[in-house]
Amino acid sequence: MHKKDEPSLKGTFVSVLLLGAFILVSWLGIFFLFMARN
């Protein structure tokens, strides 16, 4: 496959990173809330 035929996935990449950041922030928030209350 030629490089020119590759679809551009920049938009997808940014969306995936935003979703990942949201999951990470939520997880850390819940984790530290749990530790603070324990």
Partner: protein, 156 residues
């Protein structure tokens, strides 16, 4: 299989995050004992709660050095015993059951949050390191008097 360079990056990040989450939770569960209270599974006849030990005498009992057992019954609409008092730093082992419907057992500002199911006995331990008046609430809708269902633990 051909993978786009960016696909490889986000797959690595995703798998890495999953690994970190599982390692943290696994370490806490297996080496620190922080896990859902599932290891004690006890049942009771919900129609005979007031005749079955230890729920025939609900209350707070000292079981060791600054360690207490709180035997509690949740009912529509309240908790027995009504008020409890422990010194700062006390560990309370809660043993809770319901004599009627499903209730909640939530101590505001702590991780104590149990579902109290008729026929089941719920267990949870917590160490109260800060003085204050802790509010215990029912957080499972149980009937018309649900919002009055509360009691307190005084830590001083």
């Amino acid at each position: 299989m051909h993978l786009h360079r960016l696909e490889k990056i986000w797959l690595s990040i995703g798998i890495g995050m999953l690994a970190v989450f599982l390692i943290v939770i696994g370490t806490m569960a297996f080496s620190m004992g922080i896990k859902p209270p599932s290891e004690h599974h006890h049942t009771i006849d919900p129609t005979k709660v007031s005749e079955t030990a230890p729920f025939d005498q609900p209350g707070l009992r000292q079981t060791g050095d600054n360690r207490y057992e709180a035997v509690m019954v949740a009912y529509a609409f309240g908790f027995e015993p009504e008020k409890m008092e422990v010194p700062v730093g006390a560990t309370i082992d809660f043993t809770v059951t319901s004599s009627d419907v499903v209730h909640g057992f939530y101590v505001v500002g702590t991780n104590i949050n149990l579902m109290v199911v008729p026929g089941e006995i719920s267990h949870l331990s917590h160490t109260f390191d800060k003085p204050g008046e802790y509010l215990i609430l029912c957080n499972e809708y149980c009937g018309t008097g649900h919002e009055y269902m509360a009691t307190t633990i005084v830590v001083k």
